[in-house]
Amino acid sequence: MVETTKNTQIYTTWGRKTAKPVKPAVAGKMVSKAKRPLLVIGSEIVGDEKLTDRIVAIAKKGVPVAATGHSITAFNGKDIGAKYINVHSLAHFLGDEKWGGLDGKGPYDTIVFLGHKKYYLDQVLSGLKNFTDLKTLTLERHFMQNATLSFGNIKPEVQIEALDEFIENL
């Protein structure tokens, strides 16, 4: 079992509500139990084949993918149905019960993040934390304190291992 919960060092705090460190298997099971999960991918994955492969694997297990920034360019020809959306808009729409989602099938309940700039995602999560009831899970290499559940600060190779374990548990 990959250890992803130990180093939760932060460089600044938002307040007292802080993410729970999570292990990949638990995270995977949580997502597989979610009614309407959404995987939100950021531009930092562009050019990272290892990460891209894992994302494709997650998508193939039935998790719809929102591609923010220019991350969509990593999925051309991968046939995972990823849809481009601006992440700031996405976060706004996620809080709106009337939004039909990227596919018109209604609102999401569990939002999984991967491949974002840390400082940018911190803010996106801050909005979701304060103004929605959504569960958020981050699979980043940094501990994202504004998420509901987050990996700790881990090394790139550990992240890949953790993602594999996450995928196994989906």
Binding site: K17, G69, I72, H88, S126
Partner: protein, 803 residues
């Protein structure tokens, strides 16, 4: 200095004196009437004056709050944890508090600009008198923001004082609402934010009008000189005088002294931030030669000081690093503060002789001095620079580590990651250290352009490694090559230019204005600016630059060795590249939009803000980009644009402004306006989709720019051009056709000619539109009609039959 008597004065003493009693209630209305000006409904609006307009735009664009902190620490009941939109001890909830926080940042920016304006206005009135005419070039509408907001048509410097009074009164009213137990509704804080932003543009305009009129700055000139820019253009073998800040008033005395004493070749005068820009505008109108070099933005401040090159530093106000004195002291560089806003605890030497000051600073008795007397400053700064150059040379001041030291320092890194956590961009410093330990410094060099030069890495390092110096040393070759050209700021767009280009903007045949403004907190290095401007210029957009962005754009050259300023002409025409000037010149960008409404469309401008804003909202395809926005001024500028309906995109760091205004394209009810011809409702395209939002990367930015230039008033040619760019940019940078392109199609003539058939097929197949294939016409499908004579408006009272 004016010398009019005061108190109870005899009328006889006052022959030919023009008395303006602007304060009397109804005064503006009366004056306007006398001058035959048609005054709109809201001259000098108070906080509630434009609230109805704000509510209109806020119903389409909802505030999106992303708190930087979940707590409020304003009063002593707190701190209060507001997580989850809880209420604090005063009853405020997270939403309203975040709006309040944004308001605070906005008015801080507004205050920075308008306090600068007040300072320079005082100074210039002292020097040139209250009757000095305002001169901005060949325009009648010389103060579009001022006139639209206040109803005042200023003609002299003295007229600007009343405008400043108004701005200051309103800022004070807004600051009051920051107090505990004031506004309780987020929506009304939002309206106050827009009010604060609007005031910012008035304050900026006053600042720039005053200095343009008095300091020989270009006045709507299209061929302003090109000025050297970059750390690499500074000749370190000469005595180097470095000025930093935003307010050029004191620096002009230094430039005059250098000029009058023929010291141009003996001293290297370089500037950082907007003071640098305004130095290059000083006395260059009608072909004058620039008298200073531009080094760069805030991001270069610490790097420039740490290089050890400057012999003396003069600072004025705004965007000046708080540690200038500490850093300079370490390298024996005296610091002169020249403005009450920044005094650094230095002794006030304003009343002392230049010789005494030079003696105390050159001997090291004092690390610096506060000099508020500009005549003294003008002499001290250059003379001290020449003296210090020798002294520092003799002392053999050493600034950066050698390559051996760099290797040794790298080897000391324990890979704890503290630097990367604290780095605003989380740059990969640890691997640079690892490589550096093996004498490979390329990774440090790679960091140079990405690094915003903030120095937090140094502060974070438990081993006290001078990370920034290490980057700089490794990048000295790159830095030496940082030599570009920036076009000196031209000031306003003139009325004649508006008459020429207005129609193309309103109909969309000029695809849009991209205004690239703001600071240097870029997510991916400075070159992104170059890429964005070049792409949009190639596509015939008008690209308008200002401030730090204007500088950074000039740092890069194409394969022919040309900067964009050389490559593209500088008129107010499609495909032209314009630099309006410094930070306060941003008012000319909104001013341009107001001018289109006033001059091209002949809308009344005086005190008629709502109608002007409504016109701009529906007709002028302009998008602001503050890619590296870091400051409160940037969000103030953005909010001022927003009240006029001009959307603004900031880089990802901009999410830390903690609030955006984003619409919901899927909410059809939100995308309707009235047709002013008969008051009927008409659907409009969901563009701009937002008034303030962030983008993650320039690849994402490109299609956003094109799409959000679309406006209801586009004619078919205009819509076709805009749609073409949207689809092409989406293809080029995101690798796909945008999903929503068809929503902007009203008629087959909106479709790019070359692709028309292909697109019609998609419309039929994917979207179920009916096509008459014989005539290649759309029969049904679009929700909007193309009707160039429609008069889109958000304001019911402007419709025929209303009022």
């Amino acid at each position: 200095m004016s010398d009019t008597p005061t108190g109870q004065i005899s009328i006889d003493d006052l022959e030919n004196v023009q008395i303006t009693i602007g304060k009397i209630v109804g005064a503006i209305e009366k004056k306007a009437e006398e001058e035959g000006i048609d005054l709109g409904p809201t001259p000098k609006p108070g906080i509630s004056g434009l609230r109805d307009w704000d509510y209109k735009i806020l119903s389409r664009y909802q505030p999106v709050y992303t708190p930087v902190c979940d707590q409020c620490c304003y009063c002593t009941f707190g701190k209060c944890d507001l997580t989850g939109n809880k209420e604090g001890a005063c009853g405020i909830n997270m939403e309203a508090h975040q709006a309040r926080e944004t308001l605070l940042r906005v008015i801080t920016g507004t205050a920075a600009h308008s306090a600068h304006g007040r300072h320079i206005l005082h100074h210039l009135i002292d020097k040139y008198g209250r009757d000095k005419p305002i001169d901005v070039g060949p325009s009648n509408l010389i103060a579009p923001n001022t006139q639209a907001v206040t109803g005042i048509k200023p003609e002299t410097l003295g007229d600007l004082e009343e405008v400043m009074d108004y701005v200051e009164e309103q800022v004070n009213q807004l600051l009051a609402t920051i107090h505990a137990g004031q506004e309780g509704a987020a929506i009304d804080f939002e309206s106050k934010i827009l009010h604060g932003g609007m005031l910012d543009h008035v304050g900026m305009e006053v600042s720039d009008l005053a200095q343009m009129s008095c300091l020989g700055m270009p006045k709507a000139e299209t061929d302003t000189p090109l000025v050297e820019i970059g750390m690499g253009c500074i000749d370190a073998s000469k005595p180097v005088l470095l000025v930093i800040g935003h307010n050029v008033s004191g620096v002009t005395y230094i430039m005059d002294y250098i000029h009058e004493h023929g010291l141009e070749d003996k001293i290297e005068l370089g500037g950082l931030c907007c003071t640098a820009i305004d130095m290059t505008r000083y006395q260059v109108e009608n072909g004058g030669e620039p008298r200073a070099k531009v080094i760069g933005t805030l991001a270069k401040e610490l790097k420039m000081i740490r290089s050890g090159v400057p012999d003396v530093i003069v600072v004025d106000e705004q965007c000046v690093r708080a540690d200038v004195l500490d850093e300079a002291q370490k390298l024996s560089i005296p610091v002169i503060t020249t403005n009450e806003k920044i005094m650094y605890g230095l002794k006030n030497r304003s009343n002392d002789s230049a010789a005494d000051i030079i003696e105390d600073l050159s001997s090291g008795k004092e690390p610096g001095a506060l000099i508020l007397d500009f005549d003294t400053l003008g002499e001290v700064a250059p003379e001290l620079t020449m003296k210090m150059a020798k002294i520092r040379d003799e002392k053999g001041i050493k600034a950066l580590p050698s390559d051996e030291e760099l290797q040794e320092l790298s080897a000391k890194c324990v890979q704890c990651g503290a630097c990367e956590l604290d780095c605003p961009a989380n740059l990969p410093i640890m691997s640079a250290m690892t490589a550096g330990a093996a004498s490979d410094f390329t990774q440090f060099e790679y960091l140079h352009d990405l690094c915003v030069g903030c120095g937090r890495c140094d502060q974070a390092c438990p081993k006290d490694l001078p990370v920034l110096n290490m980057i700089e040393q490794a990048s000295r070759k790159l830095i030496g090559e940082e030599r570009g050209l920036v076009r000196a700021g031209r000031g306003q767009i003139s009325d004649p230019e508006i008459r020429e280009e207005g129609v193309n903007l309103v109909l969309g045949t000029t695809p849009g204005i991209i205004a690239m403004v703001g600071c240097s907190n870029y997510p991916g290095g400075t070159k992104d600016l170059y890429k964005v401007a070049d792409e949009m210029l190639k596509r015939n957009y008008i690209v308008v630059m200002s401030g730090c962005s204007a500088m950074d754009l000039g740092m890069y050259k194409n394969d022919d060795g040309e900067t964009l300023y050389e490559k593209y002409p500088a008129k107010f025409l499609a495909g032209n590249l314009i630099n309006v000037g410094s930070c306060v010149s941003n008012s000319h960008i909104t001013g341009t939009a107001i001018k289109v409404a006033a001059i091209f469309a002949q809308r009344n401008v005086s005190g008629n803000y709502e109608e002007i804003a409504d016109y701009i909202t529906n007709r002028i395809g302009a998008v602001g980009v503050a890619w590296g926005a870091y400051s409160q001024k940037a969000i103030a500028i953005g909010s001022g644009c927003n009240r006029l309906g001009i959307p603004v995109i900031v880089g990802p760091h901009g999410s830390k402004y903690r609030r955006a205004l984003i619409g919901k394209p899927y909410d059809e009810e939100a995308w309707k306006v009235y047709d002013a011809r008969d008051g009927s409702e008409m659907p409009i395209p969901a563009s701009p989709e937002f008034l303030l939002t962030t983008a993650e990367s320039i690849e994402e930015l490109f299609p956003m720019l094109a799409k959000n230039c679309i406006r209801p008033s586009d004619n078919s040619m205009g819509r076709m051009i805009k749609l073409t760019h949207y689809m092409e940019l989406s293809q080029k940078y995101l690798g796909h056709m945008p999903e929503d392109w068809y929503k902007f199609v009203r008629t087959e003539t909106d479709l790019p000619l070359a692709k028309r058939e292909e697109l019609l097929k998609i419309l039929e197949k994917d979207h179920g539109w009916e096509i008459d294939w014989k005539r290649k016409k759309i029969l049904s499908g679009p929700t909007m009609k193309a009707d160039v004579s429609a008069q889109p408006t958000n304001v019911k009272r402007l419709c025929k039959g209303e009022c």
